[in-house]
Each structure stands twice: as structure tokens, then as C-alpha cells.
Amino acid sequence: MASVSRSRTERLVNLVICLLATRRYLTAAQIAATVPGYEHDPEDVREHDAFQRKFERDKAELRALGVPLETGTASIFDSEPGYRIAARDYALPAIMLEPDEAAAVGVAARLWRHAGLAAAATSGLNKLRAGGVEVDPHATLGIEPVIAVDPAFEPLTAAARARCEVIFSYRVPDDDKPTVRHLQPWGVVCWRGKWYVVGHDTDREAPRCFRLSRIVGSVKTQGQPDAFEPPENLDLIGYVGRNAGPVARPNTARVLVKPGRAAGVRRFAQPVQSTTDGDVLELRYAEPDSFAAWLVGYGADVTVLGPDEVRKAVVARLEDIACVPFSSTAYELEPA
């Protein structure tokens, strides 16, 4: 096995060197006669077929690695296509990074250590090294971000690059069944640590964004690449973060907090006065219901003094909670 793999790798290295060195397009027959590992008798149909299959596989492998194989004919008299690699398309352009820039790239490549494109980040960094960039593996930039991506990240970014439509199942938490969605993906956004894909939803005929963590199963592409054109001057963040400004908290409530309790409430409060019953604090809030839900979590440690809308919301919630049947036997599971 090792020797097969070795001779195959050797053949591919020689093929790359040969095609980089030639200016003329070389036909498959010329390559077979030149590069070691392709030797065969072209007159023998079976041998010739085997060679062609091998050569097709090798070409596919080079293209998968990103080697730009050009096809063309050496002259107008040739009917058979030939192959070559243009050095300017093959090579990483010269890149000069200052030490601090190289350090930044080194730190950046490390961010992927736990996720998706880790292998691509490492091989990319190694290409920069081969291009002469010295990367200090111990450099830091004060803080270490850790990239965590959902499995859908890779197929979606690839589809957005190729401009290829995708299909996936999507489940929002308050829905029972995932629904199948069709999307022309424009791009992927990380917003406040969560990943989203933005694009044109062809079922809804409108731009939509989807959270990657809610995609169920795999993302499949459909149809041809270059199937659509994203809008010009696209602001991906704008689609996700449109309504995500800081929450306005115009209202003030007063609460009584038992001494030494409910630290989670105290952190956001202004002390007003201390009494024997506890501490009177002031808190800002947006609207009474979600504010009440938060306060109820602290149970008897927090009592709302006012305003009435908050006091009533808290009491109503507490009364409902006290009425929830608490014996697990009271609710036998009915069949789903």
C-alpha cells in the first residue's frame, strides 16, 4: 500500500514539474511518453484505457488541490487537447509581511484549532511559510478568540463562493417539524458569537437569514454554480443585526431585596436605602412582563414595591406557578 501511494505521489509531483516546465501544451500521449508511471502500450486497448482512467484521476486530483491545469492545443493543426500549468497562475504571489503582520496571521490560523477550517488554515499558513514568511508560533495578541462554527459553515461558505443554490432543513425552536428551505446564499455572518446565513429565499421570494445552529442535517447544493448574483454593495451584517441595538430601559422600578441575597439583582441596581427588612434598590426596565419574569426567578428574596404594573405582573406569575401541579404522576405521558 505504502509503495503504491508513494509511486502515485511521485508520479503526480513529476507531472506538476513537467507541466510547469513546458510552454507548449502537451497531449496525454506526450505526457505518457515523458512522465514516469504512465508507461503503457498505446496500441493495446486495455492498457490504453487503464492509462486514460489513471490520467483522468490524476488531473482531477491536481485540480482538487487547486493546481490550475490549462487545456489548449499546441497549434491550429492539432486536434487533440494538451495540458500545461502557467507558473503565474500556479504560484502564490510574492507576499511580504512585517513581523507584526506575520504574528497576526499566525494567531489567526490558530483560532481554528477546534473547528471547521482548521486543516485549511494550517495548510494556508504553511504555504505562506513556503513563500518566505516567518511565523512565530508563540505570538499572542493579548486575547485569544476561539472560533466555534456549526457544521453547516463549510458547505454554506463554499456555496456562497460558488453562487450555488442550497437546500436544507431548518427548525426554529418553537416549531415541531423542520421545514425544507431553498436559498441563494449571499454570505455567512457571525453576529454576537452566533452564525447566520443570509440570502435570497426562493420560496418566500425575499431576503432571509437563518441561524446555522438551527439547520438540521446536511446542506445540499442544487443546480449549477454562478446561478445568481448577490445584490451590489451587500451589507451582510445589516440583514442580521438590523433590530439589535441596545435595549432601551426607560422605566424605573423599586424593589426590596433581603439582606445579602439576590446578588444577580444587586449588580444592576442603584441602592436607595437600607432597612431592617432589607435593601431598597432601583432598577431600570424596558417592559413589565419580561422584567417580572426575571425578578420572579429570585423568589421571596425580591419584593416589588412599585410601580403597580410590575407588582401585578409578578404576583400574577407567582400565583400561576404555585398552581402548577407538581407531582410527576399527575401528568402521565400521552402518546406523541
Binding site: 504571489p93 497576526a104 477550517l117 488554515a121 504553511n126 518566505g132 457571525c190 423568589g299 401541579p325
Partner: protein, 314 residues
């Protein structure tokens, strides 16, 4: 171990220009730099030695000279430059740099921006990677934490623990500053807990710098964050809640052991809980449309808390 042929081919094509740029490099250094073993590197060199230009005579093959453990490529057969970046490689580097540029607390933002520009240029992309990053963060707070970490002293902090709903004083030996999913953490040895802990930056309410240097015990390493920052203890008590549509969001915010549909409108959600007081506050906060199925003492605790709170309003 057999490496896939394409991966090895990519490595070999990269190795020649890498060595060419570093005449006389020590093999061990090159292997460490490229993330391969010494043995792999030697095997790669042996293979390259028999590759070269058509003709494949002594003057056509890739050639190297060795001086002890040092190697110099003396003939490259035309592979003098690395292969250009693939779209995935370009995306990986560009997205990570954008992430760095967006992370509050990155010290050398200017270098990150310059590097980003150069990489995008070198990648020769038809279009920039279709990925945008925006992270929130309290830049001032993080800059302050960074200064403290750089000065390397132990810290006395006042920290709010949401699990226990208390703010307590602790002495910590900071190890590093991390940003995970848009949240910043100080990873440190906690002297009170005698263990490595992650402190959320936004829950550190005050900090005092101590005279003594930060000194985490020898051999202590950072957490493996592969599965996220919060990993529930598999030994912790299991709670099961019956939740309706309005509370199903909890399954996205907390690691759950199982989520089972019991009717068109209700689910059973099970999760491991380290602290029953936290669970009681959690269920109370979720409100009346959540029912505790197990354990009984939690259901009873929630009800008693609600009754006790109601007594305040009587």
C-alpha cells in the same frame, strides 16, 4: 499510518519552496514549523530526490545538500514557489483575521488590518470570502484586563456566580484572556476553588491587583474548549422539564441531554444541573408554563418559593 495521496502531494509541493527560502535549515526545525514528524520529513525528502524534470538525469532531479542535520535545496526543478491559496485556505485565514480584528481586546489591530489586506491580495480572490463578522465587547474593560494580565500579578476579584447567585471575593492567578462565541473570559487558577476556572469578563465586578506575581501551580494547563466553555458534569443530577412552545428556546441556550416531543405543543427537556438552587431560580424565571417532571424535590422547591414570595405581597 498512510496519509492520503493528495495531502502528501500538497505537502511535497510546498516543501521545496519552503526549504529554498531557508538554506541550511535544521531538519527538526523545519519539521516542527510544518507540523510533521522528523520521520515524515525525511521520507518526503527521499521522495523528492527522485522527482524532477523530464530527462530525469542527475542534472534534472531535485537536489539537496546535507550538512549534518541541516539541508539546503540546490536545485528546485521549477517548483520554487508555493501553490496559491485554495478558496478554503483563503477563507480560513481571512475569516480568522476578521475575527481578530473584531475581537474587543486585540492588542495590535493595525497589524491585523494590514495583514488582512495583504492576505486578501495574495489570495487573488475573484471576490472577498462571503463571511462577515461582528462581535460585541466591552473594549475598555478588556483593555484593562489585558494590562493586568501583562503585568502578571495575582488578582483579587469580586465575581458574580450565576450558578450560585452570589458575588464573592476570590484570589486568582490569571493565565490567559479568551473570547468564545462573542463572550470574553479570563482563564485563571482560582485559589479558593483550587482549580482552573473560566471567569466571564462581564461578571467580574471589581479587581484589585496584588503585589505578588501570578503563579498558577506547575503543570496546570488551560481548558480544552473543543466542546464549548460550559460542559455539564455527567454525574450531576438530571432534571426533566415539560415545556411549551414559548420556553423551547432553553434548548438552544443550555446543553440538554434529551428533548422529546410529547404532544404537538409540548416537549420533555432533560439537562444536568450542578446546583439545585440555580435550577429552582431557573424554573421560577421560566414561569408557569413550565412544569418540573423530575425530581420531585425540585418541583416542590419551586412551588414553595412561589408561595413564600406571594406571602411578601399578602
Amino acid at each position: 499510518m498512510t496519509v492520503s495521496a493528495p495531502a502528501r502531494l500538497a505537502r511535497l509541493l510546498n516543501l521545496v519552496p519552503y526549504l529554498l527560502a531557508r538554506p541550511g535549515i535544521e531538519l527538526a526545525e523545519a519539521a516542527a514549523d510544518l507540523g510533521v514528524s522528523d520521520k515524515q520529513l525525511r521520507e518526503d525528502l527521499e521522495l523528492l530526490w527522485v522527482c524532477g524534470l523530464p530527462g530525469y538525469g542527475p542534472g534534472d532531479l531535485i537536489d539537496m545538500s546535507f550538512d549534518g542535520d541541516r539541508v539546503t535545496v540546490t536545485y528546485d526543478a521549477g517548483i520554487d514557489r508555493p501553490l496559491r491559496l485554495t478558496p478554503d485556505e483563503a477563507t480560513a485565514l481571512v475569516v480568522a483575521l476578521r475575527m481578530l480584528a473584531e475581537t474587543a481586546g486585540t492588542t495590535d489591530r493595525d497589524a491585523v488590518a494590514r495583514a488582512l489586506q495583504k492576505i486578501e491580495h495574495a489570495a487573488r480572490l475573484e471576490q472577498p470570502p462571503p463571511v462577515a463578522v461582528r462581535l460585541p465587547g466591552d473594549t475598555e474593560r478588556l483593555a484593562n484586563l489585558q494590562d493586568l494580565l501583562e503585568r502578571g500579578k495575582a488578582l483579587s476579584i469580586s465575581y458574580y456566580s450565576a450558578a450560585r447567585d452570589v458575588t464573592s471575593e476570590r484570589i486568582i492567578d490569571p493565565m490567559r484572556l479568551l473570547s468564545v462565541s462573542g463572550r470574553s473570559y479570563v482563564e485563571a487558577w482560582c485559589r479558593s476553588a483550587k482549580g482552573v476556572r473560566m471567569f466571564r469578563a462581564d461578571r467580574i465586578d471589581s479587581i484589585t491587583e496584588l503585589e505578588e506575581p501570578a503563579a498558577p501551580p506547575a503543570g496546570v494547563t488551560g481548558n480544552d474548549l473543543t466542546d464549548g466553555v460550559f460542559q455539564p458534569d455527567p454525574q450531576a443530577e438530571l432534571i426533566t422539564l415539560r415545556v411549551s412552545r414559548g420556553s423551547r428556546w432553553i434548548t438552544e441556550y443550555y446543553p440538554c441531554e434529551s428533548v422529546t416531543e410529547v404532544s404537538a405543543d409540548e416537549w420533555l427537556v432533560s439537562m444536568r444541573v450542578n446546583d439545585m438552587d440555580w435550577a429552582r431560580r431557573f424554573v421560577l424565571g421560566l414561569g408557569p408554563r413550565v412544569q418540573v417532571v423530575e425530581p420531585d424535590h425540585l418541583a416542590e422547591g419551586v412551588r414553595q418559593s412561589a408561595l413564600a414570595a406571594l406571602a411578601n405581597y399578602a
